[in-house]
């Protein structure tokens, strides 16, 4: 593979939480200091490993929330019956450590050279790697037009709300929310789950050869990806990343 940089062998490293942001009552972004970090690509993820005092360990994957060249950060949503997420959102303190492995992934990534137009379809916390892509686009001065369709339960559940709203009016970026459970009074945006008809309204026409990234829970991704293929998107131009639970 011509031009591929030699990859550092993937191993576990000890990272330190350097700062954090409470994004919503149940979502927290953790900025991490990782020794020897050589950078990442927008869309990649980190594996993290927690070990309890009795030796029990649990591993999970979290998408990196920042653009290449920015400090690595992950955004974690607390799942009520989760084993790991509540510890990350509520217990882990700035200054404490956790084991990480990464950056990981080469499929669900976007860089300036990939161009556009780009369609980003997010289901809940699936917005995390897509926000990294938006930040990468801004960081590199890419003029690829991008549309983000973000499905969330309600407006308070929208992660990075201020940042995403800040894109409104900016050249080439459009953000639409689909609020599935509660809407604020006077809401004129989408008020239902993302379905084929909704996609047809928001998605770039297939004739423009767009690149789509779909991320979220399994069933969300399944439905959205099929919807886009139904609109004529070649399957190879629809990238998917399914999230599990806990």
């Amino acid at each position: 593979m011509a031009g591929t940089a030699v990859q550092r062998r993937l191993t576990w490293t000890v990272a330190t939480v350097t700062s954090d942001v409470r994004e919503t009552p149940s979502v927290r972004t953790l900025q991490l200091g990782v020794p020897g970090w050589t950078g990442h690509r927008a869309g990649q993820h980190l594996d993290i490993r927690l070990t309890a005092e009795d030796g029990y360990s649990a591993e999970r994957s979290y998408s990196i929330a920042t653009a290449a060249d920015e400090s690595v950060a992950i955004t974690v949503e607390r799942l009520d019956d989760g084993e790991v997420s509540p510890y990350l959102t509520d217990d882990l303190r700035v200054g404490e450590q956790l084991e990480v492995r990464g950056p990981i992934g080469g499929y669900f990534v976007w860089e300036k050279a990939d161009g556009g137009p780009v369609l980003l379809v997010a289901g809940g916390s699936g917005v995390v790697p897509l926000r990294a892509i938006l930040r990468e686009r801004a960081r590199t001065g890419s003029d690829a037009p991008v549309r983000l369709l973000y499905s969330a339960r309600s407006l308070p559940d929208v992660i990075y709300r201020a940042e995403l709203d800040g894109y409104a009016g900016l050249d080439g970026v459009e953000v639409s929310y689909a609020l599935t459970r509660h809407r604020p009074p006077g809401w004129t945006g989408y008020a239902r789950r993302v379905d084929a008809a909704l996609l047809a309204e928001v998605a770039w026409p297939a004739s423009e050869n767009p690149l789509a990234f779909v991320c979220g829970p399994n069933s969300f991704v399944e439905l959205a990806a099929q919807g886009l293929v139904g609109l004529g998107y070649p399957p190879g131009r629809v990238k998917t990343e399914r999230f599990g639970g806990t």
């Binding site: 309890a52 029990y56 019956d81 084993e83 956790l98 084991e99």
Partner: protein, 202 residues
């Protein structure tokens, strides 16, 4: 590298009066984890059968209704998964494998449990008899959920739980022991949780 211990706590503390019920290396599960090597099969009960086979021949086969008509037992057992979670006092209802094997004439020492979807697991017949194993179709008083192996699964609680094949459709009797699915990939042929027989060679 050595792990970094954190204040991470898992909800797996064992009450001290039950500590001797936990095999080495195990933790108490919070829920009932669902793990499978493939999609959940959906065989309609009208097509479902349980068979005992040997040498390519079916010795006996029961339909769902025939299984339901057999004497059943309700048992409460501790179960232990090789992935380190254990669950105490799980309640199952089903037909003892003694009842099923008792209905056929056979001469074999081992059996391969086989399931919808292609999963297999091997066991000595000795570990399927004398009240040690069941064809279970009910868990916690309810029909066994497909996610947990319904309509019926093998239940062999004295061995690691991968031996309790979900979606089981029969037993293939064998003269010699042969590895099933996970055993082929390095898991122990027998799987005694009290001897921590997780992998081949343990």
């Amino acid at each position: 590298m050595s792990p970094v211990y954190s204040r991470f706590r898992h909800r797996r503390e064992v009450p001290s009066d039950k500590a001797d019920r936990l095999p080495p290396g195990q933790y108490l599960a919070a829920g009932f984890p669902v793990l499978s090597a493939g999609p959940t099969p959906r065989t309609p009960l009208s097509q479902w059968t349980f068979s005992i086979e040997q040498g390519g021949k079916t010795l006996k086969s029961w339909s769902w209704d025939e299984i339901q008509a057999l004497p059943a037992e309700t048992v409460t057992k501790d179960i232990h998964c090789v992935t380190r979670w254990s669950k105490f006092d799980t309640e199952w209802r089903g037909v003892s494998i003694d009842t099923l094997l008792g209905a056929v004439e056979y001469d074999a020492e081992y059996a391969m449990g086989f399931s919808d979807g292609g999963y297999t697991t091997n066991l000595p017949i000795e570990d399927l008899t004398d009240g040690k194993a069941w064809l279970a179709y009910s868990y916690d008083g309810e029909p066994l959920d497909p996610e947990h192996g319904g309509p019926a699964r093998l239940l062999v609680p004295h061995l690691y739980f991968w031996k309790s094949a979900k979606w089981v459709r029969g037993l293939r009797l064998m003269d010699t022991d042969e590895p099933g699915f996970w055993e082929t990939y390095g898991y122990h042929m027998y799987g005694d949780p009290w001897l921590e027989q997780r992998y081949s060679g343990d």
